[in-house]
Amino acid sequence: LTQKLKVRIDGEVIAASSGQTILEVARANNKYIPALCYMEGLSAVGACRLCMVEVSGVARLLPACTTPAQEGLAVTTSSPQLQSYRRIALELLFAERNHVCAVCVSSGHCELQTLAQDHGVTHVRYPYNYPRLQVDTSHQRYVLDHNRCVLCSRCVRACAEIEGAHVWDVASRGIQSRLVSELKRPWGEAKTCTSCGKCVQACPTGAMAEKGWGVEEMVKQKSVVSRLTSLRGGR
């Protein structure tokens, strides 16, 4: 049975239900908490660390997307410390791979690019990693550019939880982590892929795109994935 709760977000008392996360409560009440790996309709994994918030009485920061709302919880969504940590997280994402926005199909429609702008990231203070990464063009309709992947795993979850195919996974560890289709088979040869394209629409950057688009032309239809879940009553 869902219980009614009261939580405080940035000082304002807000009604919530048990089972909701801090991020869900905040979004339902027009309180902005940035997030990259969170997507409405998919399970939350707390991977990107952009939705970290301060909770009074808790010494460490908590990810809003995986922390359940509790009676009397008091949350701060923005502070100089949080802004500074979010900037660091964003800069490290840029430093890790080759996000060359100027020649990206998703430029102008990219969540990473927009978050960087919103957080005043005018440059990256860390040395770039410049890894040599593959671009998988083996699929007939879609392309996967590892240079632009932030490992948010939204594609993994969209494919596993909504399409039910589970083509995608993240292989290896740490800086070597890579998105793989099936057991590292090229995407075009993945037998479980239904070519539905939900992974592409769920991808926040230009890492996954439809073929045939030029720079700034790929606009994702995120709502496709979120709507499917709500049509199924959240299952």
């Binding site: 996000h99 060359v100 020649v103 702008q117 440059h123």
Partner: protein, 176 residues
């Protein structure tokens, strides 16, 4: 009052940032009342002069010559601005960074050449191992991202800097 000195330079970039600078149109008239352009692709000077007030640097640092010029600009300028994504992030020039320079040059000038194959050595500066953002080799006072930065952003930056203020770019600019 003496006029201020504005220097611009073009490292490893496409000159698009300089085009965007010219796209401030009549805005340049007001700027040139306050400052003279004393160096860069828009003027004839061969040497980067001393005592420059504001320097705009376009392009990534990609060759020995880029590095030398970046250091000279830093030493002789009060305010150094990284103008555009190449100077700010190393951008497109960095797409070669995963490839060893010798392999890169051979791929283009030997394997890719239809006639007279051979890596050029005379009159061209040696490449650095990687193309890097300006702030990795010298101190940068202001970053202006964009590919290219919008003319009105450049105009705002120059107008403010020539008035001795640091422009507040806030969340106006993005990469790409």
């Amino acid at each position: 009052m003496d006029k201020l000195k504005l220097g611009t330079c073009w490292l490893d970039g496409c000159s698009g940032c300089h085009m965007s600078l010219l796209d401030i149109d009549e805005g340049i008239v007001a700027l040139l009342k306050k400052a003279d352009i004393v160096f860069g692709p828009l003027v004839d000077a061969q040497r980067y002069p001393e005592g420059v007030d504001v320097a705009l640097v376009e392009g990534a640092v990609s060759s020995q010559d880029d590095l030398k010029l970046a250091q000279t600009v830093r030493a002789r300028s009060k305010v150094v601005v990284a103008l555009g994504d190449c100077a700010v992030t190393s951008n497109v020039p960095s797409m070669r960074n995963g490839i060893p320079t010798r392999k890169l040059l051979e791929r283009i000038y030997v394997e890719g050449a239809s006639e007279k194959p051979g890596v050029p050595v005379d009159g061209v500066p040696p490449l650095l191992r990687q193309a890097v953002p300006l702030h990795e080799v010298v101190k940068v006072d202001l970053h202006v991202p964009g590919c290219p930065p919008k003319p009105n952003a450049i105009l705002l930056v120059l107008s403010e800097l020539l008035e001795g203020r640091k422009p507040d770019l806030g969340t106006k600019l993005r990469f790409g």
